[in-house]
Amino acid sequence: MTRVFVSRDMASVALGADDLAQAFARAGCEVVRTGGRGLFAIEPLVEVETSEGRIAYGPVGPRDAAAVLDGTHANRVGVTAEHPFFARQQRFTFARCGVIDPLSLADYAEHGGWKGLEAAFRLSPQEVVDAVKASGLRGRGGAGFPTGIKWQTVRDAEADEKFIVCNADEGDSGTFADRMLMEGDPYCLIEGMAIAGHAVGAGHGYIYIRSEYPFAVRTMRDAVARSAGRIAPFTLEVRVGAGAYVCGEETALLDSIEGKRGQVRAKPPLPAIEGLFGKPTVINNVLSLAAVPFILSEGAEAYAEVGFGRSRGTMPVQIAGNVRNGGLCEIGFGVTLGELVNEIGGGTASGRPVRAVQVGGPLGAYFPPAMFHLPFDYEAFAAAGGLIGHAGITVFDDTVDMARMARFAMEFCAVESCGKCTPCRIGSTRGVELIDRIVAGAPRGAGMLEIMPQMRNARTAARTQDEEIALLRDLCDTMKFGSLCALGGFTPYPVLSALDHFPEDFGGASALPEAAE
């Protein structure tokens, strides 16, 4: 019986992979459902097991089964790993994703699974922490804080109870690596968490997954149940978010697990000292934790060898939006933005010129092609007024209206603000109103109140467009430096970068003539 492999990843399913799988089953094949390979342009994808390895076809539909099975289908990709999109990659974390049946413990073990955990158990907890430190692994959630140092803090904290929390509340548009890993290789994350538990002395862990990822929730729950014996006495629990983006902020996430409103806590205390239920807590992103089994099984040096500057190892970059070869590209730090967008991504899907890319989700800056020389590296992006964030790149072609995108950034902040701090709570709403006026070219005149004779101190003259833009910059300043967390604090990045790099979209803001009067 021919074995074929069809992804069960949510993206593949959204593109029709379930129908495809059924068609092959009807054609008498043994269908193995894997995770996603990570290149959407060739989805729905089917791989046929042959003596030369797995031969991929895609995109293909349910009616293409016969042609695929007799090898005549036009969309023959060949050996999947040899596809140029994959050939350049260094898959440390995503090595198994798309290859194995995500829930098969046998598959996982056959493909190098649990080796990291076994290695960890042979080491003392401190040695495990030291290995993670030596690997140079930095938090993949966006802040880039060294993971080993965080673990050390938790390890050193005295407490009757500690926790490992996985932040799987990946809400940034343009990112999907966490989702793919959880759907495609859940045991890898579980193994990483178990290693963390061993290293810091935590007995229980939580995986907090956003509710927008129902497939990941199901897969992780199933995987946690099946692997319980393998990671005992460490235990794990899946918790599901409820539509609040801000819960991706680590302290809001902890409050949410505790059953509270997902409001951001002031730091200090750090979660590593006083985290979940007031106990020392490792809170790491999915990709950080999933990188750990490789570090333990292959050695810290193998991981640290790759990379650029202080950014060591690989980064699963997600190329998204209006792009031809959208997908997941795990690659060492240092690759340039231009290489990612144009060479690996293949330019826009629409075929029109790239006008802007947003790096790092809704709180990331917009960059024009003029900045495509930037190397993918935490420090380089920070220096350029942006951030890598969760390494999502959203590509826009030249039809994009950047003032509209700036407005959207403020709107998104207003929609998702937890409401705790003032700059974010009120500032985002004022930002939307202000950009609307700027875009309409209709600066604010004196309001009903301001023109009342009683209001002696109020200015009655209308504002100028310049003044409105200056106010927008001041508002961004207040939000950036005044906000409690990154939601309010980073919303100015997309707004200001749009304003800086694309002033022409803000109604002639680039060359403001003096008011005529």
Partner: protein
């Protein structure tokens, strides 16, 4: 409608049954899982359930209300029979979701965030499904749909208004 009506007023005893499952298992921070369970069972979190939840988890009613009102997922009214959640985030915008949104609004005759008065269908915003290179994307009654074009809009509208 009869179904929607019964759904709109789940018996308190039924609510209590669901609550008891959580109150008994001693789960820490059980409020969100419990609210999810209630919503899964009844489609929404009835405000009448709040005192029962508060009692079971030893919280104040205010706390439970604060949590229910914080999270967009939790509804206090029965949902429409069909729900289309269209992604409004940047990646989908870069692939033309604004036009798709306008089309859906026009074809369904309701605004974004609204439900049709007869309870047949609601159009809700969602921010990112993690399918960011194949948008515009939506969840149609929890089923993911990618690459929505005008033809897909027709199919979706037909499905949810049938």
């Amino acid at each position: 409608m009869p179904e929607a009506v019964t759904k709109a007023m789940p018996e308190l005893a039924e609510i209590q049954t669901v609550i008891d499952r959580f109150a008994r298992n001693g789960m820490r921070g059980a409020l969100l899982p419990l609210l999810h369970a209630l919503q899964e069972e009844f489609g929404f979190v009835d405000p009448q359930a709040v005192p029962l939840i508060a009692e079971a988890l030893n919280l104040s009613r205010a706390e439970v209300h604060g949590v229910v009102s914080f999270y967009p997922d939790f509804r206090e009214q029965a949902p429409a029979r069909h729900v289309v959640k269209l992604c409004r985030a940047e990646s989908c915008q870069s692939r033309g979701s604004a036009a798709i949104e306008a089309e859906l609004v026009r074809r369904l005759g309701i605004g974004m965030g609204d439900a049709r008065p007869d309870g047949q269908v609601a159009l809700e915003p969602i921010y990112c499904l993690g399918l960011c290179a194949i948008g515009p994307n939506a969840l149609v009654d929890e089923r993911p749909v990618a690459g929505i074009d005008r033809a897909a809009v027709e199919r979706i509208v037909a499905e949810v208004t049938a």
